[in-house]
Subunit: 423 residues, 2 copies
């Protein structure tokens, strides 16, 4: 142990270097974050995280989405533990599986049925297989750069995958109707599905609300061609609506995929579908060792109860508005072009004229130092455990962070690890 | 509610018909089991299950593997709950991830590193991608009929998948050296990996121990061609050895995959590898929303502690021997050809002259009626919560069940739903 403020984090990273390839993997790696970001956390409570060196943060990442009602939410975790004591992974499911399917079908307009799995990628992969089984065709229409999971067919990094893994895919530009029409035309009579994120939430670029005309056109094209329309709500689900996110646009998909926060961080994801593709969903073989485990289902039932019975969404929207307005004001006062995009409940912040994110890194580090965990290039997530006081604290931190940035901006060097963004 | 003894199960199935495609999906569906098998369970404790209609069983399926130290094991579940209270899915991993990687590396001879995921299929898919990244080649050599998961590249039912999903695969016959050599030759200079189950544990057929010469030849061929050798220990792991299962043969793979019981039913799986393929594993993009959650890691640490510090394996082997010997004796006394295959800790029972399993179904139903849950065509699993008294009870039940079969055998009709087996 040293006297460095992050000595426990450094020590864990050193140990991990020995027993985990590259020291860390996947979306929670801090490899592409500023150097001072902690990799390891000791605990979470409500809207706050404590890292292994004892520093506490207001967490605007919410575990990359799973935290919707607060870390260690007593009501949801109690439901988990009660079911754990009765039985979790058994030789068959328990009543909670049926109750949870009923709860989703009652809540989500387009859904006539539900299937449960563990990863978001399980749900999107099942949507793909269901669409191919239903249509007896192969081609998927996807938006360029959209994230639908980390299996070989959809992973953003092709290393170790084959051309065949991504065969039968045609890409379009999100929100560009002509491009969508061209992609559907290119898929021709082999089209199985049109996949869509509820809004554009790609990393490193401004988020974009869905153009209602684009959403309606996707629905029309699916109907005309017999393809299934899939809305991938793994990331956006329950932070945009108490229904599939595109229901706000009056567009109902055939399939929707859910995960992350549907059990407030307990491991479960879901594929929901309508009657049109019920037989196809019943015909595919998908499974997992822990897919029928009851505890996460009990936690999801409790989460959906809070979704139905509380004003959580209106509250996080109001907090998100307050955060967005307050940041805009402070950025303007400091003289920065500061773009806030995405739903206010899932914001992403980017500075103007900041291709390699040197300003974003500097500002984010200054926020971190002031006790607010923000992400410089991935959308963030608000949760219902946040309070007005938390947002005030974030805004105070931001005022200080903009000052730091103003002072340091003229001398900031390039962010080597993000050099690819400038290329 | 009716007075039928399975009225709650029937009621749940009726409700599920409405909101789950086909009423149920995946490996825990009772669709291919005798009609009297319950689909829904209320609770599990130690080696016993209680179904939703209150009937209690000695459970020889152990949740299809996850139950190794008893359902609701107090020590393991307490570790889970302690970590849950501190933090489960957070914005980064906790120290438990490093500790668990260290524990696996210390326990498994071939392993220099570990990566954690949720499904067994995640681990086998990561093995495939790692092997392709390491070799910069594509072709996998797999044994015909071996189960390595339910993703499009490996699912046993092709509905909704494409020819491209299973491209770059060559098949051999398990334990047949000439067939393995031919498959490797066919893969030629494109070979990326040789996959192997630790023993042949395909459904519907006799299990088979690995021929040590086959295992050694697989290792040699991998070394000669530069391919990686993968042992898929998701199902067999920790019930054959306190190490990778092939370590008993003196054969060390490059990669091994683990899941099911490594946290005694809590949701976590793992890919372990050696230094040869560390860089490749670090180069791939794989992730999941709940992969870094601490509670299942804490439960796995406690499970591995019990693996290291108790005689669980010797005890379940002794119980397995007692069960196998006792069943053989009773089957012979009743005049049945009754084949018991696989490790004694993971047995499968098949009757001679029973192509559509009509004898197996009759006997299994009679066991179920006598309070012992057996599976007529899938390997079973013993757990450390079983006692000699449990095995005695199973043997008493078997004696009765053989009598029932003897009486009913002459008039048994075909099992329509297994007609495909006779084809």
């Amino acid at each position: 142990m040293t006297d460095m403020p992050n000595s426990r984090d450094r020590d864990l990273r050193r140990r991990a270097e020995a027993v985990i390839p590259g020291g860390m993997y996947g979306h929670q790696s801090v490899g592409l974050l500023p150097e001072d970001y902690p990799q390891y956390f000791a605990s979470g409570e409500g809207a706050h995280l404590t890292d292994v060196d004892g520093r506490r943060y207001l967490d605007l990442m919410c575990a990359y989405g799973p935290n919707l009602f607060g870390y260690a939410n007593p009501q949801i975790d109690a439901a988990y533990v009660r079911q754990l004591e009765k039985g979790d992974a058994l030789t068959g499911p328990g009543p909670a599986m049926v109750e949870l399917a009923e709860a989703f079908v009652a809540m989500v307009t387009h859904a006539d049925w539900a299937m449960f799995c563990k990863n978001g990628t399980d749900a999107t992969s099942m949507a793909m297989v269901t669409a191919r089984a239903h249509t007896k065709r192969k081609t998927l229409v996807l938006a360029k750069g959209a994230y639908h999971g980390a299996a070989p067919w959809c992973t953003p990094r092709p290393t170790g995958t084959t051309a065949e893994d991504k065969a039968n895919q045609v890409h379009c530009v999100y929100n560009d109707i002509a491009s969508l029409e061209a992609a559907v035309a290119k898929a021709g009579d082999d089209i199985a599905a049109i996949f869509a994120a509820p809004f554009r939430h790609d990393a490193f670029i401004d988020q974009a609300a869905p153009d209602p005309a684009y959403a309606r056109r996707a629905r029309e094209l699916a109907d005309q061609t017999g393809a299934l329309l899939v809305v991938d709500d793994v990331r956006g689900g329950l932070r945009v609506a108490r229904d599939c996110s595109w229901s706000k646009l009056g567009v109902q998909p055939d399939l929707s995929t859910w995960g992350k926060c549907i059990a407030n961080g307990h491991p479960i994801s879901a594929l929901l579908g309508n009657d049109k593709c019920r037989a196809a969903a019943a015909s595919i073989y998908v499974t997992g060792s822990f897919w029928y485990a009851g505890a996460a289902m009990a936690a999801s039932l409790e989460t959906l109860k809070l979704v139905r019975e509380t004003d959580y969404l209106e509250r996080i929207e109001a907090l998100g508005d307050k955060l967005r307005d307050g940041l805009a004001e402070r950025a303007q006062a400091a003289g920065f072009g500061f773009r806030q995009t995405g739903p206010v409940t899932m914001p992403l912040f980017l500075f103007d004229d900041d291709r390699d994110l040197r300003k974003g890194f500097c500002w984010s580090s200054a926020m971190l130092e002031r006790g607010v965990y923000v992400h410089p290039w991935h959308n963030m997530f608000l949760c219902a455990a946040m309070t007005e006081a938390d947002i005030d604290a974030a805004l105070d931190a931001a005022e200080g962070a903009f000052k730091v940035l103003k002072r340091e901006a003229p001398t900031l060097g390039p962010v080597e690890k993000l050099a690819f963004l400038a290329g």
